[in-house]
Amino acid sequence: MAGNALPLLQALGVSKSFGAVQALKPCDFRLHTGEVRALIGSNGAGKSTLIKILTGALTPSSGEVRLEDVPLPPGRPDQIIRRGVACIYQHSNLAPALSVMDNIYLGRQPTRRFGLLDRKRQRRQVVALLQTYGISLDPDAIVGTLPTVKQKEVEIAKALALDAKVLLMDEPTGWLAATEVRKLHDTIRLLKAKGVGIVYISHMLDEIFAVCDTMTIMRDGQIIAETAVANTNRVEVIEKMVGETLARESQAAANHDRRAAAAGEVRLSVRSLGRRGVFHDITLDLHAGEILCLTGLIGSKRTELVHALFGSGPRHSGTVLLDGKAVRFRGPSDATAAGIGLVPEDRHRDGLMLGMPIRDNLVLSILKRFVRLGRLDRAAITRTAQASLSALNVQPPDLDRLVRQLSGGNQQKVLVGKWLNLGPKVIILDEPTVGVDVGAKAEIYGILRRERDRGAAILVVSSDLEEVMTLADRIGIMVAGRLAALRPATEMTMKDVVSAIGAEPGMPAGMA
């Protein structure tokens, strides 16, 4: 790597503010020819803001981006693509019914007169391109019939056909199986040898260690570390991503109001639960009166696991017992009827009725209780909603307010409140405090502890280690779709958790 040579791509002092919120603090980012640079950080760390500035999807509030020392036009994605900075997104940007050849030249196939396609020339160009970069693809294969990894390669070839010098790859392996990931990495190494600069955005640490040369770690809207991959290790990386929370660990422990008495009987018992290709052999017991936190890297399939428990996602093997009886929910309505609630990760898409008032949102899962002779008892609804409103301390305490008009923290309280009104035996929360301010966070913790002391069994999926250390009575750690560790929180320090999360997939916890 030419350390001091002129970088291929450099962002100098770029920043981005949305109103009063600074999503990206001024930062410098450099990428050299033939370098594969990992860009990592937890959700909301500012990665996507930086990427969008590089592709031109966002105009930076300050600073500039230069390609081979020539400034790129800010906020002009069409021009930036033609100058040689391409981005391969998580979702497909291909036309499934067309051939590889046509997709590579989508919308700009070489033509002769009258719009007739010049097939010979197109084929020549495609074959030459694929040969140059050593990508093995059949130009005539229909893209929709190709395996996902091949489709990714088509997207790469499409970018290269536009003379891409820089490839930004956003979670390129999200939909790939392990063997496919290896194939993709081979392709990346070929591109690297040809001098293409690659920014590899991923949550998968083992991939980063397998294919990247350098890494940039972001947190809280700024770049906090840049290092060669060879000079670091997984635990160090996770510590950097998590931030100074290690320093705050003692404080978190101090805040921790662990349940004094032993937890109650087993509520939800999961036995060897599996979903093909997603998670495997999950066995755990969730007790009444405990908070069990499941943590792990993003993509370790915790969300898929809880949806399988709630009946809203598939499961293929194993059993689930509720109070000792085997249950198999055909849908969320079954789970709800059995006394299980789920606060989903994406509260806007999956959780709330944003255009409806707080009142309706709070009682949506328990409407049946308010039916008197076929009529909704509005007064009773208002009483119930009012009671939860005060218990949850939702601000402003106005039942007629649309949920859309609330702050993130208050929206989340309403969503939690909806399930508390069910009086649930089991309540599952997926990333309950993402995008929630510190005050509301503490309040939500208080609410959850109160529910626990009432005797509810609580399962929290969280990537926020500070939250896990603060809240958990027991900690479960998932690595690549398997439960790698499950221990009482008192027996684990933050360091143990970090090293368990960073463990190589398939290795028992503690060995990494």
């Binding site: 069409d78 019914a97 046509d102 989508l106 700009r108 993509g299 969300t303 898929e304």
Partner: protein
């Protein structure tokens, strides 16, 4: 495209099964004259189906094809009988009317951003209303029993004795080949080439399969959409010419409900309602498959009301199958898809 090889073969198989079945159930079904009937009676519908495939490829739908058919039919009637235009002038005028009607559909969808089904449902009513307004049968009542005799138009209903010309007459009785069937074949070849050999065709697949990707690749999706609906209108116009030539007249009710058959035939022929998948060969076979079933049922003495019911059921089965295929295609992906995170 995706289902080209296997799908087309399966369709041809179905077609042969249906023919064999009806040959046993009804007398004379396998006869040469019956195949003439099939070819001349359903070529116009096959052409309409080719047209219908374009909006469906664009993830839309054209409910107004029957009304456009009637509109063009009445245009031919008026121009030929009321205004005495010569046939060589009527033919292009008719095709122009059809194309413009389709273009208006496209404009409503693109400019007013109406959902395709509501835009074409509205124009279905509007075009049908227009047919009554311009109906030469009502404006000049005397004309309603006058057949169209212009050789340019009636000439479209010509039969060629291919078997005789080749001297096969004594070996086997072959059906005479209707000109309408030859026109269908030419139309099929032209639109097939348009889809596979031109930039316009590639753009249709791109825009229908992934509109966002097409837009990013600089394809003018709005213009492609307009062209798709114009194509459907053009084909409806061409179909109308063949039908009018066969009937030697036109009526206000021409082509009522045919949108259903064309949609069914297109979906049977492998054009997916989720857009971007299919070609025009399958739909033509689909149209004739539907034709064999309808013709067979008629000859078996089943009432046309039952046929209406059956057409609806066939449409349901076709979309059920389409949805199943789509789900199967996506399943491999969702198996490894990481739901939310």
């Amino acid at each position: 495209m995706l289902r080209d090889a296997g799908g087309t073969l399966a369709l041809v198989g179905f077609f042969l099964v249906a023919v064999t079945f009806f040959s046993f159930v009804t007398r004379n079904f396998g006869s040469a004259s019956n195949f003439e009937n099939l070819m001349s009676g359903f070529s116009f519908m096959a052409i309409l189906t080719i047209g219908q495939s374009f909006p469906i490829l664009m993830r839309g739908i054209d409910l107004s094809v029957g009304a456009i058919l009637a509109l063009v039919g009445m245009t031919v009637f008026d121009l030929s009988l009321m205004f005495g235009w010569p046939g060589w002038a009527v033919l292009p005028a008719a095709l122009l009317v059809g194309t413009l009607a389709g273009l208006l559909n496209g404009a409503l969808i693109v400019r007013l951003r109406l959902p395709p089904f509501i835009a074409t449902l509205a124009t279905l009513a509007a075009y049908r209303g227009l047919v009554y307004t311009i109906s030469g049968r009502q404006l000049v009542p005397g004309l309603s029993t006058t057949p169209i005799r212009d050789p340019w138009i009636i000439g479209l209903e010509t039969y060629y004795d291919i078997g005789g010309a080749l001297g096969l007459k004594h070996l086997i009785k072959l059906p005479w080949l209707p000109l309408s069937f030859i026109i269908l074949l030419v139309t099929l070849l032209v639109f097939r080439f348009l889809l596979s050999g031109t930039r316009f065709g590639r753009d249709i697949y791109a825009a229908g399969g992934n509109a966002e990707a097409a837009r990013l690749a600089g394809i003018n999706v709005d213009r492609v959409t307009m062209a798709a609906y114009a194509t459907s209108g053009f084909c409806a116009g061409l179909g109308a010419l063949l039908l009018v030539a066969r009937l030697t007249t036109s009526t206000e009710e021409l082509g009522k409900g045919i949108e259903l058959s064309t949609i069914a035939a297109a979906v049977i022929g492998g054009v997916s309602l989720s857009g971007g998948i299919g070609n025009v060969t399958g739909p033509v076979i689909g149209a004739f498959l539907l034709g064999v079933i309808l013709l067979g049922l008629t000859q078996a003495g089943i009432s046309q009301f039952v046929q209406q019911i059956l057409t609806g059921l066939i449409l349901l089965i076709a979309i059920g199958n389409d949805r199943w295929q789509t789900a199967r295609r996506d399943r491999a992906r969702t198996e490894t898809l990481t739901g939310a995170s």
